[in-house]
Symmetry: C2
């Protein structure tokens, strides 16, 4: 493809996206295809000869698009939002075109230094502790996801325990803790790190979904009594189910007393701290050894982009560094540099800092605040509508952007309601279990959502509910 | 940013890239900035107010671009190529704009099914064993990198050993093997998985860089004698240093005899198997439990894109699956579906299959073959030039696209030669150690490289060498 053909096709791609954004509300939010339908609609063998770009786009429209669940639709309220704002898409274009590998400082100094800079910016924007700034012992790095971040935290915690106290081979005595509401990635990290899923204690949470501190205290005491070594605690600020928050300050003191690494996972809720009025979320994170949140969830940045901060970068690097000859920096490099390959699982890395830089500059800190406040305001209203409505029950609302609710009746009725709503195609919701009962989740955080969208969603929900026998 | 502003800025981004590709040879390939220069050229605090897109682009030109090491320049011969072909960049634009999360089949069926389809296509294109196709017990999945792929392989191997034989808590008895030429990510995987770096035996290689089979045999026997449990072998087809290949067939039989998982890492060289004449690279991989290669290295696809195949998907899924309520599929889904979140480290995933689909269709299998053959032909010529030249020595050339060489004299002279070459800015090479001696590496695999580029590179190399005292 020549440069001029690329220009033509590039314009066409941009036009396609503009049309897509204009028409996005005309598609069913949740794809209606049956399992196997997409695959069987396409040739089972690769083409021998080159095909025209226009042919590919035809198939994209005809075959791929019906199999898309539209995360960018204003009516997507499921799971968590995927924040593909226009500036972040533009940044992705530059990143893809420059095609640089940021594994070492040398392999594109801008990739490393812009990342250091924007992660420092974010410390300031969100009122995070200064210990996470690059100027001291700590620092931040972009991971693909909160899953990889917690895995890095677990590995660093193990490294620290090893170097401090525990002899070789004591891995099976290392015990970690999180609440039963913590994200599934904590358990996954324990499985991957070979610590054993069973070595992660899932502490009960109270009726608000917050970790029960006294239970944690007791569990640690009991593990110590049994000769085990508590080494890691994951605190959650904004759980996936309901955005519930653990008592981080108390947990942090306990972690300190017991020489445990405290990781704070604030994947979606974290972004809210850009607004000073939501900084209560950060309460206690000055006691954390590591912290992460996902700009790709609620800070206008497209996937993947997780900001992961550590208090002590040396431990993380020591856990992850391997230095073969072919990656050795030239001795001519007379200053120490940051090589981010030693801060993450993979070796290679894209130029992801561009996205954060484009987003923060395009909206400004004030613009991001306005965006977040808008969503919280809408979620507030939705929660009040649910509360005011007979036959509906608000099962959880923490005051941010996620509202959980159910209709009167049993779980089967609520599950049926969820499926009926999603089958309409006009909106998409997901679910969770709260206090043992099936609840619907409505998360407000999409780039294109408005109060009008949520008002319409509420009408859809009520209409669907009225059609299902209690 | 309104849709119309996005259109305008999107066109501008495409134009910027077209200009960039046109001017790419006018930039020094290796960035000439000093550590800290980029960061200190930018404001240390985030902007309060929104800024215009044009202001960001100004800074991109003025501040960011000088800090770029141009992986897309035809004169980039270092490490491995980063294959950002025009069709793959276009696919990235669609992927960024659609902004879908492919963690579950349900969250965008096209994302999962297109991935299954193109990974099946690749099995056919590369003559890989049918056991890697999705129709049987095996299957393929896109990982971000070969590092994550080998980590998944190690974890799956451990899972299989656990379920088959070894009791709980025997992790420290599990021993893995690779050659000393294997990629650093194998050691990193052992570190992450908590198996202990010391539990990975790095077997000596012969003068061609291939694992010494008899040494592997002896090491396994000795480990067994000492009551340890060999469980994993990583064979390399195309090492990072020199593209050397391990004797996979023999290793595979040994792995089988000893109940070890065999993973074959063919990160760069693997793509060559698209051409039937290079299928000798696949010799023995029918004995592998898992296999991976990186289309982002040599198959015209931009980073990140690693194809990872397993013979037995059940083991991989069992090692990585965690199922919290909020990710549970609706019971209404009456058919089993593939949820790729259980095949990888993170939970979230981008729509990366689009890139492979765009690339394979845009070039056709024949076009990809032509591309690869062109590079091999050029590398062949370069190797012959080096061989024919007095004062130069060909230190390794396996007949593919990577040529290693040195100038007569000691390591210091060669290191100085490398730095001098890279300081010219016209080309960029990296280095390795072969048989204890410093060697320069010239890798031909960039999207824009031509015979002319390599001829010019050779002139630069000779000129630089003649200016350095032997």
């Amino acid at each position: 493809m020549s440069i001029e053909e690329f220009r033509k096709n590039g314009y066409a791609a941009i036009d396609w996206l503009c049309d897509y954004f204009e028409r996005i509300e005309s598609y069913p939010v949740l794809s209606k295809v049956k399992p196997g339908q997409i695959k069987s609609s396409l040739p089972s063998s690769p083409p021998k000869n080159a095909e025209q770009f226009s042919r590919i786009i035809e198939d994209l429209d005809k075959i791929i698009l019906p199999g898309i669940t539209h995360w960018q639709a204003p009516g997507f309220f499921g799971y968590f939002p995927a924040n593909a704002s226009p500036p972040s898409i533009l940044a992705e274009i530059f990143s893809a075109g420059l095609g640089v590998q940021g594994m070492l400082w040398l392999t594109s100094p801008s990739c490393t230094e812009l990342e250091i800079l924007v992660l420092d910016w974010i410390v300031e924007m969100m009122g995070l502790p200064d210990m996470f700034k690059s100027s001291g012992f700590g620092g931040g790095v972009i991971q693909d996801s909160a899953s990889s971040a917690v895995l890095c935290a677990v590995i660093a915690a193990r490294e620290l325990t090893k170097t401090k106290a525990a002899p070789q081979g004591t891995q099976s005595y290392l015990i970690g803790y999180c609440s039963e509401e913590a994200h599934s990635s904590v358990e996954k990290a324990f499985a991957i790190a070979g610590l054993g899923r069973e070595n992660l204690r899932k502490i009960s949470s109270d009726s608000d979904g917050a970790l029960l501190y006294s239970n944690l205290e007791e569990q640690i005491a009991s593990d110590l009594f049994n000769g085990l070594k508590p080494f890691f605690i994951c605190g959650t600020v904004g759980s996936t189910s309901t955005l519930s928050c653990d008592p981080i300050k108390k947990i942090g003191r306990l972690a300190d007393l017991n020489d445990c690494w405290l990781h704070v996972d604030s994947a979606m809720a974290g972004t809210a701290a850009v607004c000073p009025e939501f900084r209560y979320l950060n309460d206690g994170i000055e006691l954390a050894d590591s912290y992460c949140f996902n700009p790709h969830k609620w800070m206008l940045t497209n996937f993947d982009c997780n900001c992961f901060y550590v208090k002590d970068k040396k431990t993380l690097i020591s856990a992850l560094s391997v230095l073969p000859e072919y990656l050795r920096n030239p001795r001519a490099l007379d200053q120490p540099v940051v090589d981010f390959r030693d801060w993450q699982i993979p070796l290679g890395r894209r130029f992801r800092a561009l996205k954060l830089w484009f987003v923060i500059r395009s909206y400004g800190v004030d613009g991001i605040r306005e965006y977040l406040r808008g969503h919280v305001k809408i979620a507030n209203k939705f929660a009040s509508w649910v509360e005011a409505e007979n036959h509906f029950e608000l099962t959880s609302y923490t005051g941010l952007n996620l509202v959980c609710f159910r209709v009167e009746g049993d779980d089967a009725r609520n599950e049926k309601l969820l499926n009926t709503i999603n089958e309409t195609g006009s909106i998409f919701l997901s679910h969770t279990i709260i206090d043992g009962r099936f609840s619907l989740r409505l998360c407000v955080g999409q780039v294109r959502v408005t109060e009008q969208t949520v008002l319409q969603a509420w009408e859809v929900i009520k209409t669907c509910a009225s059609g299902i026998e209690p």
